[in-house]
């Protein structure tokens, strides 16, 4: 019995390794880019870069900013942002450069356009609809025109 248990355990281990190996290999082994985790020497530039990095979306770990993500591509994007800021580019220019490549999707602060219009105007529309629905109830002393309810 013990012999068979040991064999089964070994088989289970081999299976687990076979399953785990490709996942482990699917990571590159290069060290992070120089400026992925290293702050810029100039505090003002670093502050500008950090603010921008919190506003840029990670491409592979969607839902995180590149400042929050440990994905290699996020590190490379931080390196790209810090390098460009260090070279004197403005945060707006860096953002525009990325938006030209990935679309507004890449920023958490998308501009007002056809795609985002409903988000901005939506609350106002709901407020107007609510006022319209409630309009009869604001009338003081005037009998309800339907002669019912209220």
């Amino acid at each position: 019995m013990t012999g068979r248990c040991a064999w089964a355990r070994r088989a289970a281990w081999a299976l687990a390794l076979a399953v785990a190996a490709p996942a482990a290999m699917a990571q590159d082994s290069l060290p992070p880019a120089p400026l992925a985790y290293k702050q810029l020497a100039d505090p003002a530039q670093e502050a500008a870069a950090t603010a921008l990095m919190h506003e840029l979306r990670c491409l592979v770990c969607q839902g995180q900013s590149i400042a929050d993500s440990d994905a290699p591509l996020a590190g490379d994007m931080r390196h790209e942002v810090r390098s460009r800021i260090a070279a004197g580019e403005s945060p707006d220019a860096v953002r525009d450069w990325l938006v030209a490549r990935y679309g507004n999707w890449v920023t958490y602060d998308p501009p007002f356009d056809a795609a985002t219009a409903l988000l901005w105007i939506g609350p106002l529309l709901f407020l107007l609809a609510g006022l319209w629905l409630a309009r009869g109830r604001f009338a003081v002393g005037v009998p309800d025109e339907r002669g019912e309810g209220a």
Partner: protein, 176 residues
């Protein structure tokens, strides 16, 4: 009584919302971020060789009058292995293919090519994904169809399947 339909408005709105939720829940997940850098010139770069014996890749290589494929890959990328036979078939059919290896080591690239064959004329090493980002690419593998003047005409995200090979050849022929 004439405005009784209003009583159903909240129900209608909630039903509509649930309809939208159900639709989105059942729609296949699509998290691909497409490049907007299409019909634009290749970014300026000069990448060193990714492994010994194969030339590196620079922007001027991609504007020699020949339409070609630029394949973004990595030795650590499992789907890239599944894509290799299709790239091989395209290369054997005379399609020029250049590669950009993302975050890779020379010895790993060499081992990858030894295993899958080498369809590439040149392979540039993109150690910090800078060219990948400049291309608006968000993963591996991806393939860009580049015309003879070095203008990017199309982005293919994910692996090239066998069924896509003839279509890619037609597209390249149309760019000649």
């Amino acid at each position: 009584m004439k405005k009784n339909w209003l009583l159903f408005a909240p129900l209608a709105i909630v039903s509509l919302l649930f309809g939208v939720f159900l639709y989105r829940l059942n729609a296949p997940e699509d998290r691909m971020v497409e490049s907007r850098w299409i019909n634009q010139p290749m970014p300026t770069f000069n990448l060193p060789p990714a492994t010994a014996g194969i030339a590196g890749l620079k922007t001027s290589d991609l504007a020699d009058g020949q339409p070609r494929l630029v394949n973004i890959f990595a030795s650590w990328c499992i789907p890239c292995k599944a894509e290799a036979p299709q790239l091989d078939a395209l290369a054997k059919a005379g399609v020029p293919i250049d590669g950009i290896a993302i975050r890779d080591r020379p010895e790993d690239v060499a081992a990858f090519l030894a295993e899958t064959g080498n369809p590439f004329d040149r392979i540039g090493a993109d150690m910090q994904s800078s060219v990948q980002i400049a291309l608006g690419s968000s993963g591996v593998p991806e393939t860009f169809i580049v015309d003879g003047r070095g203008i990017i005409r199309e982005q293919i995200q994910g692996i090239i399947t066998p069924a896509m090979v003839p279509e890619i050849q037609r597209k390249l022929d149309s760019l000649k």
